[in-house]
Point group: D2
Chain length 465, copies 4
């Protein structure tokens, strides 16, 4: 059933589909209804294979079912569902219509609908991760590593509270995201590997399978193994919700890392700061009334997507509650879970693309840092004085900064007027006096640490696998 | 651009579109991208009319713009946007391509994009409410009123903590929802009337319009009046977010009322309670493995939709924050707001439809109440004793209920063995002794109150308008 | 029972109590457990008065109960609760211990616990609003009005996307918050007036009261009227949750306005922007290692409180669901609702205090605006050209801004090199040419609008009441 | 500073402190302000030891600092903070006041406040887990294991959608929670081990420490090792927020498991189901007006606590965003994080206590299951028919269940009237005919699986450590 995308309700299906068509077609291959049905049919096939191997049905049954499954699409299933009001019985009826009468009894045998649905869900979340999401995460991580390395010696003022603190390098600032994103990839790798399937029947006690199979737990393991999955230690009608919840937590928390990066990078584009800029094409319009505007709209967009999707994790927390062996109140809500992953994929793609074309203005970075160098020299001064034994160095320097402000003089000038400091200043190390002389060199180990961080995550994410 | 609905990501655009096609087509006429563009064009037209009336452009300008707008669809706008990377400048370019050169200067003149977008948004949320949502709310309210009246004398046990408390009538239980839904409709009526538009330019200070128009505030009011809207007392680039937030709060809190009703009604269908049942067709399947199952899946579905959509209100709260005269981090997130309303519409429609076919088993209700009548007589007994002056009636009765439990006797039997009660019991009123004799008649004013509640909301919602 | 505040868990009870002792003592008089018990006793007294007036108990009963209530504190109630495991029966037992035997039967008669609890809750939320919260809101509003008026002519660059847009005045920027906060006060005024009580018994059907009182609805109205409250049209065991929810929504959405103001004002303090500054005392430390730091920590704190409390509104949305005539799953969660209001009160107080001492650097504001004046002249140029009939003014000016960037020239210089513009520029109005000559005067009606907004809300909030 | 607990705002500090005094005193030793200061002093001591070992200060410095720290309490720190308006500089001043002048320079040297705060936080969350939370989790897990084993053969109806499905055993139902809680403990074990400290200075680049120490990364590792912690691969002013976020996610998701258990167990106490009951003391009151009430208030309370605390995880997700090297908007919000853990601890304690005294009514369980045995036999019938080759067994049985309903006959009677089934029924296995004859024995491997689940988690949680 075809429909104009601009008649759709979800921006994922109109605006963001239109502007990211190639990517969204890939997303659809895991998260559309077409994909859902396809994955369900894969599970029905695996079940048939398991039954055949257990000697429940004649050799050839599974092959016939597999072939029938290949011919089924959602249109057929939905048409049948109008009669059954039950989606999985509709699916199995569609299979039954396409196989010989002798095969029919074995379709779906021993399974309850959720055996199929939850297992299919684990499969598609897993495949989407390994085939689409993880490569995208690695591509962004690589982009960040490259940027960090490229800018590892570019002096930038470190900011806390939005105030100039002491200097770092821009590469070091980017290395924050190398580390945080890398760590989230590791989390997600682990989370995805925990996704579970089930084939334990209506209430999880193998009532049906135990009737015709001697070892129903072994049977379950065998069916799931065909799909690369394992069962949890216990299921009810459903797989315990925590496995998917952890995965979604991984998604949302990785999304939070992107949102933080986006906030950092849009603030660096403020007119007064102007340290980086997003690419802006020759035909691009920034405002419909202000022809001069160039906005950090890509990073704003990423933050905005985060606001739209992050709160949806609350649904997953609420879906932890399913009364007794299961109530259905997790059904519709569970159908929306792929949207959360899709929103993240869009943000991930945008972040990678905008970073690739981003311009860094190292002169402006240096100039901004320079502006407050006479102030932030206060920290190395305090450290040097204290290391030299000044009993109250922080307070002494603090008062001098106030005095400098009041007199409109530099901190250096105030220091020179302060005879009590002479005995300490005389003992200052080479590194200390360098920092006091050239505050923009007061960079700690920013450059070296950038390299360490990049190397560490490169090793963990790319070379071990 | 057409696409198979089963390739879409959002369940709103595949599963719930497919199964609610007629309704969802109506929803699309407010909340699709097509509708969004249509509403934006309405605002551009009103703006042109305002400019013409202000003498800024020649007579006929607005008519030509209006005609051009009628020919524009999202396909054209999106194609232009590929060049401009700006959706409203793309829209205005599309208009410009369809008018004579002399008209072009006046398209969008004085407006910033958000003048169009926020005003169009207010319009579509308002129209969707008055033309679709409110009639649906009233239909459900009427269904509830009819049900409450029909069952106003049907005895049902009142339950607190899931435990039998004292009896009510089923109509009285339904009247709760008549009142709560009615009250939410009133809230929404008020909220919708507060939605605001703006035509105050890039930063809300009428910089552009003040350049060419003597009274830009009057001009704004005139343009908005053509659309049935008013401005807020102050705007920045955007309309203050609280107006839409209140509307969405109204939606989510009305959704909560449906969720509560759904929980009540699915619990009344528990096998052990069995007081009501959803309709079940002859071909309907309850479980793919348990042929006997009949599930309260509609009410479960309503609860599940609530879990899916209610947390999204957090996005609207976060979107209250827009830095300085505006940042764009509310843009993508704002595009998803119609989904929240759509989810509620689906739940509303489902609730109304399932109530229409719901069966009430008044015999089972009475039987359930009867089961505990020997216990809940404790309340009227306590009240009668106290009213007769017993200084410690609650405690005395409480202990007798424990004694009854221990001895396996009825409370009545225990009472008869208690000589200290005689003097109080002798003075009990007719109403009191009736309640003690026929506990199922201990209904307070349940029936009469049901009638009062129904009449009150009928008056407020249907007859005043 | 006394305890060291630094052994407490909640920052509201240690850190924020310690640093806001006077204010928090006022908060305690509504939201502590002491206050809760006090309000419950007020409701028990009103109930007794109602019973006496209904002729249920002898004249003098209510007075005796009122006197007993005055002597009760939480210690006594909690001690009794250890026996009863029920807080309201513990409360009524405490009353009973303090009255004569003949009065005892009439304590709490006809009421269920929630009649007392929900009514007491409505009372304390209402009183806290009228006596504490609203005066604080008005004080902040006045502070904002004063600031807006004081700075109504102080030129500041308007910013969208963090980029310089076109100029406004700082007073106009502040007027945004005058309007948004004023509007929220109006919302809360309405919301508080909707808070409801109840005196309808165990399941809301007046079962108990109808047994001994002829018109139980009139009785309920009379009892509540003594407390200045009304009943809803229908109650179950509880008051419908939407009334309190709307109030909490009002709180959280007003909190969002403060959070937005805080974000605006902390960003204005960025080292590179530096347009305003929070007061900084002579002994104050900004960083334990960087003696020069002066941070916008107050506005950061306000934003942080918002992050801490805003999500708690989800609890109130979840508490809308109470199965059948009531389940108890809203009990503990409801106890935490006052924390949300308390968090807002702290933020409100902080905002008002920091605004009082805030410094505005109008020179820096002007200098920042000046920096981009050669760019933002693009808007008035476009408007003037269009108004003069240029068919494609926006695009023409946009291209010239790009050219200016590339050539390193000012837009003005580029314009002068463009002969096609001459015919339009010749017809420009006085206001137009003023804006092009003195872009910092391109302020729209910023100053006048500031005055209008202040006057409007002053009238609505201060003079009508 | 002492204060009446009933004057406090947070229920954690009045009601729940009062009723759980012993437990809450333990909680205070990690999560009170006293504890916070104590942990901060531990970090300052470790830092001094590190400096001493690095040769920065004379031997004995650290010992003197450690001794001084032992004498400091929050009262002193808060008093000093009134002067500094900075809590960590107040803390270090307090230390300075208690050491000799020669030691003063080395207090806090190289550290920024957050080095102390974030490290101290990791410490107290870790200690609270290992010393308090994990033992409590294991105690509940053991309680569940014991209950599951005790009831592994107690027949109970399995329920899906609140409808009778097919039978299980109550022990098997409990085993769900053995598995889910066990899995969450494993998650938390991992999460706690990931908590990180830092000692990298104001912006994470070791600016200060690199000035006086040759290998500042080794220095950081050495300091943290004294506290049993490690640094992350990169820090800014703060530790990357994801480590604490994962821990809080572990808490909230474990809370969700308790909430599900609570919902299950309060529903099993419904008057009509009555399969289990919470203990009820002889003096306990269930309702202030209905003397007969016995409510599942403990499980309701647990669910209510979950509603109160689970949404607060949104604050932790929002706190992932900290602009540039850090903004302070995570400061106040971070102070409330211990409340979330405290709420969970209360729920955990309550769950364990109520389970210990809970009564299981196995007769009622069996009776409830018996009631629908003539219906749920439909599943084994369908499975047997299908396994025997019936091509359409599910549909055939489904129709017969409808026929049974219509005719008021049992499914068995309908089956006997159906000649087409004879050929299949003749081939049914022993297990099949047993299930058809004695539907209450149709239990799958419920009992055996209960044992497997219990043994598996016992092994993982108790014997490996």
């Amino acid at each position: 059933m075809k429909r104009d995308i601009f008649d759709q309700i979800s921006p994922l299906d109109h605006r963001y589909y239109k502007s990211n068509q190639e990517l969204m077609d890939k997303v659809s291959s895991y998260f559309s209804e077409n994909a859902a049905v396809h994955y369900q049919l894969r599970v029905e096939t695996a079940l048939a294979q398991g039954l055949e191997e257990a000697g429940i049905c004649p050799i050839g049954t599974a092959a016939e079912i597999e072939k029938a499954c290949a011919a089924i699409n959602p249109d057929a299933v939905y048409q049948e569902e109008e009669r059954t009001h039950h989606n999985i019985r509709a699916l199995t009826n569609c299979i039954a219509q396409r196989v010989s009468e002798s095969v029919r009894p074995y379709i779906h045998l021993t399974a309850t609908s959720v055996d199929i649905l939850d297992t299919a869900n684990a499969l598609r979340f897993r495949d989407a991760y390994h085939e689409l999401l993880r490569p995208m995460l690695l591509a962004l991580e690589q982009e960040l590593i490259d940027l960090a390395r490229r800018e590892k010696d570019t002096v930038q003022i470190g900011r806390t509270h939005g105030q100039h603190a002491v200097p770092i390098t821009f590469g070091f600032a980017v290395a924050e995201y190398v580390a945080r994103l890398g760590e989230r990839i590791t989390y997600l790798d682990h989370g995805v590997a925990q996704l579970k399937g089930k084939m334990a029947g209506a209430v999880g006690a193998y009532n049906a399978s135990a009737l015709i199979i001697d070892n129903p737990e072994a049977f379950e393991k065998n069916v799931l193994a065909k799909l690369g999955l394992q069962p949890a230690t216990h299921s009810t009608q459903i797989v315990a919700p925590e496995f998917l919840l952890d995965y979604l937590h991984g998604i949302v928390s990785a999304f939070g890392v992107l949102a933080n990066l986006a906030d950092d990078f849009r603030n660096l584009q403020r007119s007064e700061i102007a340290e980086i800029s997003e690419a802006f094409s020759a035909t691009q319009v920034g405002s419909s009334t202000m022809p001069h505007k160039r906005n950090p709209w890509n990073f704003e967009h990423i933050k905005s997507l985060w606001k739209s999707f992050a709160p949806r994790i609350m649904t997953a927390y609420m879906d932890q509650i399913s009364e007794h062996q299961r109530d259905l109140t997790n059904s519709a809500s569970g159908r929306f879970a792929p949207e959360l992953v899709t929103g993240f994929i869009l943000a991930l793609d945008r972040t990678t693309r905008v970073l690739r074309k981003m311009t860094v203005d190292s002169d402006q970075m240096r100039a901004n840092a320079q502006q407050s160098s006479e102030r932030f020299v206060a920290e190395p001064l305090y450290i040097c004085l204290a290391a030299a034994g000044h009993p109250n160095a922080h307070e002494a320097v603090r008062k001098m900064t106030l005095e400098a402000d009041q007199k409109g003089q530099s901190l250096k000038e105030i220091v020179q007027q302060e005879p009590t400091l002479t005995k300490y200043l005389g003992t200052i190390s080479k590194r200390g006096s360098d920092a006091l002389e050239n505050p923009l060199d007061y960079l700690g180990i920013a450059s070296q640490k950038t390299e360490t961080v990049c190397a560490c995550w490169e090793e963990q994410l790319y070379h071990r696998n």
